[in-house]
Symmetry: C2
Subunit: 181 residues, 2 copies
């Protein structure tokens, strides 16, 4: 047997804490508690708070992409189709909790504390790239533009969902796509 704790174990613990309790509870102490050890062990592998956040973001972001890849097919789609197929997935608890973390990150980002602004910028940039590969448009700038439009609408809906409740978000979704639910 090699080491008692692998980096993957720790990343799992970090993701658990973040999903369960939110970014504001993502602390060395709490991760250590989740692992059943002391915070020094966590600091040993993740020397700065930023490393914790990066690990959480990477883990949760890729989970979210897995969920969405199931919903989207393999062929490129129009922005409206993307929203239409993404929305039911995003309403599920898994995805909802992940987005909650993202909303928290945005809040920390705009409050200008530490490294959160860069982290948030990067993750959103990555999502734009990722989504641009799935949107149907003749050229790359147009694909990115449409991807940004999709992100804006979806994020707006999810913000509404978290702040005003699921029903209000569904109403807004109907208003945006002007079709029956």
């Amino acid at each position: 047997m090699g080491h008692k704790y692998s980096r993957d174990d720790m990343v799992a613990a970090i993701a658990n804490v973040t999903l369960r309790d939110g970014v504001s509870k993502l602390t060395f102490r709490n991760v250590a508690e989740e692992l059943g050890t002391s915070d020094r062990m966590v600091v040993y592998y993740f020397p700065a708070k930023e490393d914790l956040v990066l690990a959480a973001v990477a883990a949760l972001s890729s989970r979210m992409q897995l969920l969405l890849e199931e919903a989207f097919g393999n062929d490129r789609r129009s922005p409206d189709e993307l929203i239409e197929s993404a929305w039911p997935v995003l309403k599920k608890k898994n995805a909802d909790r992940i987005f909650r973390v993202f909303l928290e990150l945005v809040g920390l980002s705009v409050s200008g504390i530490g490294p959160y602004d860069r982290i948030t910028h990067n993750i959103l940039d990555e999502w734009a790239d990722w989504l641009a590969e799935r949107v149907d448009a003749p050229n790359q700038p147009e694909r990115r533009r449409l991807a940004l439009g999709v992100i804006a609408r979806v994020d707006g809906l999810l913000l509404l969902r978290h702040a005003l409740g699921p029903d209000a978000a569904d109403e807004a979704a109907r208003a945006i796509r002007m079709k029956k639910v």
Copy 2:
């Protein structure tokens, strides 16, 4: 001369601190410093942290409504027209900073700390009511639905603006309304 500090003085200081430094810096100590006194004086008028936040939210929210009332005329408009006329205003520094505060509130709200979730819910609910009075639709439920759609799109755009930058937000705005800028 009556009192050295009026409640309005304090609300002004609260709004200043919040706009300049963000909700995360809205503390008894910082408001007291802004006023040139000690935190006990602030606590005297605002016994709980929640009172500070409520004062800030009310002040900034009404400022935002003033800005938007200028942009909207007196007659009801379609959702697209509302977004079209609101967007240039929301890009100005005044409005942008106010919305930054709102994004911070959403972040605190979803992290489940204290009274922020209720506060955020209420302010968004008020905005939905306020906007429903300005949207053109035959009946009230439809007005509210369309208002929610406007809020979702605008908030999504502003989230993008804060997290990814003004250019990305403008691209997204173009993608959403599909007209030339």
